[in-house]
């Protein structure tokens, strides 16, 4: 029968990444190593590995190095790489996938962006307990937790200005049907969301 033997072998790290990325096939296998992504990336200069390099590492099965790289955390989701990729690889989506995997494997702590996920987590706390969020409250609380000094800076500097302008709240509004949202979210988690 005209079938490939791929199905036979155990899933590699590469396969895991592809499987954990939503939508249709992210085409990771098509990477030409041309560097358009690394060249386009606004925060590229600050990444430990360019996306291109990361893809080569994924193919090489360097799971730990990939998941402890700061690259996914420095992705600003501007999608330039995705628009320009000559092979139409869903690069940004893959970056999100790598963040999730890094958290799951606890490897993000290795990365120089170790507390990056902290911001996301703080953010989520708000969302899960209020149904809504707002950058500044998140920011302050996140900074209080991770870099208190910044928090002070914020409270006095920029944050203070925002407050004066009436653009800063201390708690977000809570949605009416919070229970419904909670039910949905816990069901989603139970459905093995963490992948």
């Amino acid at each position: 029968m005209a079938t490939t033997i791929a199905s036979a072998r155990a899933p590699t790290f590469f396969d895991e990444v592809v499987a954990a990325t939503p939508g249709t096939d992210p085409h990771l296998e098509l990477c030409l190593q041309c560097g358009t992504c690394g060249g386009s990336c606004p925060s590229g200069p600050d990444m430990e590995h360019t996306p291109r390099a990361l893809f080569a590492m994924i193919d090489a099965g360097m799971k730990d190095q990939v998941l402890s790289s700061n690259t996914p955390w420095y992705c600003v989701a501007c999608y330039y790489c995705m628009v320009r990729c000559p092979q139409e690889i869903h690069i940004t989506d893959i970056m999100y996938t790598l963040k999730r995997m890094a958290i799951k494997e606890g490897l993000y702590r290795e990365s120089s962006a170790s507390d990056a996920s902290g911001f996301s987590e703080t953010f989520i706390d708000y969302v899960e307990n209020y149904g809504r969020s707002f950058e500044l409250g998140v920011a302050t609380r996140y900074h209080l937790r991770h870099h208190p000094l910044n928090a002070v800076k914020m409270a006095t500097g920029m944050g203070f200005n925002m407050f004066l302008k009436g653009r800063m709240d201390l708690t977000p509004t809570r949605i009416k049907n919070l229970d419904q949202l909670k039910a949905i979210l816990s069901k989603a988690k139970e459905l093995g969301g963490s992948s």
Binding site: P22, V83, A116, R132, A139, P172, I184, A188, K189
Partner: protein, 322 residues
């Protein structure tokens, strides 16, 4: 024209000016907004980084509600003024349609809240999209009573409104022009802003301020290199970063940029002769006053095309095909 309206968290507070001005100009443009009842946060760029399915469930609750509350006449069109919300909602719908498995999982999660969402039911659109495509430049031109003459505006789109590439976009993904055209319709001088679709730093302000400030600096520098009086945005996150962190940029790089950052809806309102107070002016941290004072009664004399020297080689024509 009637649309469902999804303000998103930012517009409740930090981007209240965006919300106010959007509401203020809706009427004159013949738009009616029906705010989605009990909407929840879209998860921004954060939730998806932690947990896939809950992230999609979170977003889809809004889509499900929108489909359910299908306010008659809005043809299930949901308008989001925030680019991040817009992208999240649109992408969730798109990927659920692409992957039945995802759709199935999301729906079994929604079921826990007695909700269901059929991908494709709601069409998610950005506020700018409906203004330029549904209302149209002509209709807007007719409403302009106080043209924004002499005001040099750098139109700033940011990222998420026209990207990513795997979904249909209402404007060019590399070099969009709809906001440019809108601003010149309002009588303003439009700067051909090279970084118009580059990144404002997004959440990097929290993760690595140094990285974020550099990204913001690039935009401010480029805008002032092109002597823009102000930058006009279509996204709360962009506005926040460029406005609230401008001070920090100046401190870090020893610059003294003083470029007000405003929402395109505020400019429309101004041109329509609506009072600044009703458009949320004054909420911006970098004061827009001085820039607005530049608005003249007469269009500035067109800096007439200085004809190229006879040695000069012809520029490529930028025809329709271009």
């Amino acid at each position: 024209m009637k649309y469902g309206y999804y303000p998103g968290c930012s517009l409740e507070r930090n981007a209240i000016a965006y919300h106010q001005s959007a509401m203020a100009v809706a009427g004159p443009m013949g738009i009616e907004f029906d705010e989605l009842d009990d909407w929840n946060c879209c998860g921004a760029t954060e939730y998806i980084s932690i947990d896939l399915l809950p992230a999609y469930a979170l977003i889809s609750r809004n889509l499900a509600l929108a489909a359910q509350q299908e306010l008659e006449g809005n043809g299930n069109q949901l308008v989001a003024p925030c680019s991040a919300c817009f992208l999240n909602l649109k992408k969730a719908d798109h990927y659920m349609a692409e992957s039945p498995e995802l759709s199935e999982n999301v729906n079994s999660a929604l079921a826990a809240g007695n909700l269901h969402y059929e991908p494709g039911t709601v069409s998610v659109r950005h506020l700018l999209d409906i203004v330029v495509d549904d209302v149209g430049f002509n209709a807007i031109a007719e409403k302009v009573t106080n043209p924004l003459y002499n005001l040099r505006i750098a139109p700033y789109y940011g990222c998420m409104i026209v990207r990513p590439g795997n979904m249909k976009s209402f404007d060019d993904q590399e070099y969009p022009t709809s906001l440019d055209e809108l601003m010149s319709t309002l009588g303003a001088e439009v700067v051909d802003f090279p970084l118009k679709a580059h990144c404002c730093g997004g959440h990097m302000t929290q993760i690595s301020e140094s990285v974020a400030l550099e990204l913001i600096r690039r935009l401010l520098k480029n805008a002032s290199d092109y002597d823009a009086d102000m930058i006009v945005t279509v996204c709360p996150m962009c506005q926040l970063n460029l406005d609230a962190y401008q001070d920090a940029v100046n401190k870090k790089f020893g610059t003294n940029y003083n470029i007000p950052i405003l929402y395109f809806t505020q400019m429309i309102g101004l041109a329509f002769g609506i009072s600044p107070d009703d458009l949320g002016f004054g909420k911006e941290i970098v004061d827009a006053g001085p820039a607005l004072a530049k608005i003249g009664a007469e269009p500035s004399p067109k800096a007439k095309e200085k004809r190229p020297s006879k040695e000069a080689l012809p520029m490529p024509s930028m025809g329709e095909d271009g």
